[in-house]
Amino acid sequence: MDLHAPPLRGSLPPEGADPPWGGPAADRAGPFIHSAFEARCREQPGKTAVVVGERRVSYGELIAQVHGIAVAMHDAGITRGDRVVLLLDSSVDYVAALHAVWHLGAVAVPLGPQTKAAKLTHVLNDTGARALLTQATLSSVWGAASHGASLCVWVRGEAPSPALAWPSPSNHATDLPGPTSAGDLATLIYTSGTTGQPKGVMLSHANMLAAWRSVQAYLQLRPQDVIGLALPPSFSYGLYHVVMGLGIGATLVLENTAAFPAKLVQRLASERVTVFPGVPMLWASLLALDLSAHDLSALRLITNAAAALPAAHTALLRARLPQAQLLLMYGLTECKRASYLPHEEVDSRPESVGRGLPFQEHWLVDEHGQRLPDQGCATGELVVSGAHVSAGYWNAAPGVATRISPGPRPGEHTLRTGDVFRRDEHGWLYCVGRTDDMFKSRGEKVYPLEVEHAICELPGVLEAAVSPMPDERLGLAVKAHVRLKPGATLAEREVIRHCQARLESWMAPKAVAFVDQLPQTESGKLRRRDLA
């Protein structure tokens, strides 16, 4: 079928540099996801790699930090294949820690700073992590998480014993293990799922390189780019901008100021940011400002992902930032990206996610999983296949079917996205719904079961059900329907507070209704569509 693959051209790393993917060495040992970054560190040690606030860190300084962390972990006995959890905010330390884990051949497990102790405990135990790299300001989270005695904890800032102080930079990192093949696991990204517990999506070096190659084919990042990153770099969308930006030799401006759009836009102007990836909530808050009061003339490329951008906001962005190319993208952690809408199409079909991705095959299936014809109009669940698709979930019970299956090509995997699309006669895809009950609140996934499990931990609760409710600011908000045990009393506030303590903030209910009965099917199963 028409894969709509644009020709690969330009914008690869500086001439003479190793390409970050492919090449004759690809079959043997690498390249790896950090190979391009390390090459850039050798070639341009004086160039600014990362800017955070007033702090500017060069590629040379950054690689010394990477080596310092890798050496400290190695000295503590952490080695190839070990899982290392990163609980850090968007910072130089995060970027350095990520590359240090890969340099050592270990597996990075990035978590955002909003992670709660319960989830951290789950991730530490599920991964059997050997190390946690974190920061003192998050001590209430990691201090409350339970884990095995053998976990090494490194802390940026004050490190109470037995935690270890953050490693010093080092100019030497010889004789470290390193990954042995591109098929080695590089990263586990924990994502909510139908089972009610976050699951670790396994991404090998080869998966990540393949996703990078597909994305770079249309994103065309350049070494001279200044990439503004207000996204949490623990999520796939932010993580890949760290990898791609530093791999190509660009400058990353890390911003923790998404909460303060006026500040953010000042930073975009003063740092002459050229590329800025965003999500619908972020665009909405920026569009509320007078953008013309700031010099954003350097901005050449803006992108949206995580959730669909309302067509009205797309039009506003085009009008307010006419010099910038706008790409609308769609993807999942399991494959990083599945489709993008080219800039030329944004004005005429803003509600389409595009026609897929270079180097990817995709098709639609009906409700029985049967592949629909590749030509002509159709509606069905989107399935994507290629080298970028994860091999599956960490610790998945053997024999249990998941969204991911091997093939059809050797070494590759196929992913059922769970998203239902309408395809028009020219192949453009339009999202029309889900095959399950997941919904998105402020661009983040909410699986009702995960919230319901948390609510049911409260002593007075007999059963609970969760549904989406429209919300002006969040798109959709979480509503909980709770049935109490006879004689039990519970306030709405208590339910919300419990969930805020237990779950990431976007999963906490905004409203709670106490009900005598939950809608059921004849067989006694919850009838979600009847929740109001």
Binding site: D89, P113, Q114, K116, A117, T137, L138, S140, V141, A144, N256, T257, A258, A259, F260, P261, A262, K263, M281, S285, A288, L289, R442, R473, L474, R493, R497, H498, Q500, A501, R502, S505, W506
Partner: protein, 85 residues
């Protein structure tokens, strides 16, 4: 303790504190740095300040200097009320 600070602290504890185990912020501690509030939390806080103190907070006033600690909020709210009065 000042009434504005006490009131805002109470509001944050009741409504926005991201998690039990989350410690109530010190007067000068950054909400962002200590993960007390996220971006949605700040929007809710701003709506609360507008309603409670009868002030209007412009988008360009939503900056950490005005909102990112109890001390900052108190000074900001007092300034806004003086201008209004």
């Amino acid at each position: 303790m000042s009434t504005i600070k006490a009131e805002v602290r109470h509001y944050i504890q009741e409504n926005l504190l991201l998690g039990a185990g989350a410690v109530s912020p010190g007067d000068d501690e950054s909400f962002l740095e200590h993960q007390v509030l996220d971006s949605t939390g700040f929007l809710e806080l701003v709506a609360h300040l507008e309603e409670t103190y009868g002030i209007k907070i412009g988008d360009d006033e939503m900056v950490p200097e005005n909102l990112d600690s109890l001390n900052a909020i108190e000074a900001f709210v007092q300034r806004k009320r003086e201008v209004k009065a």
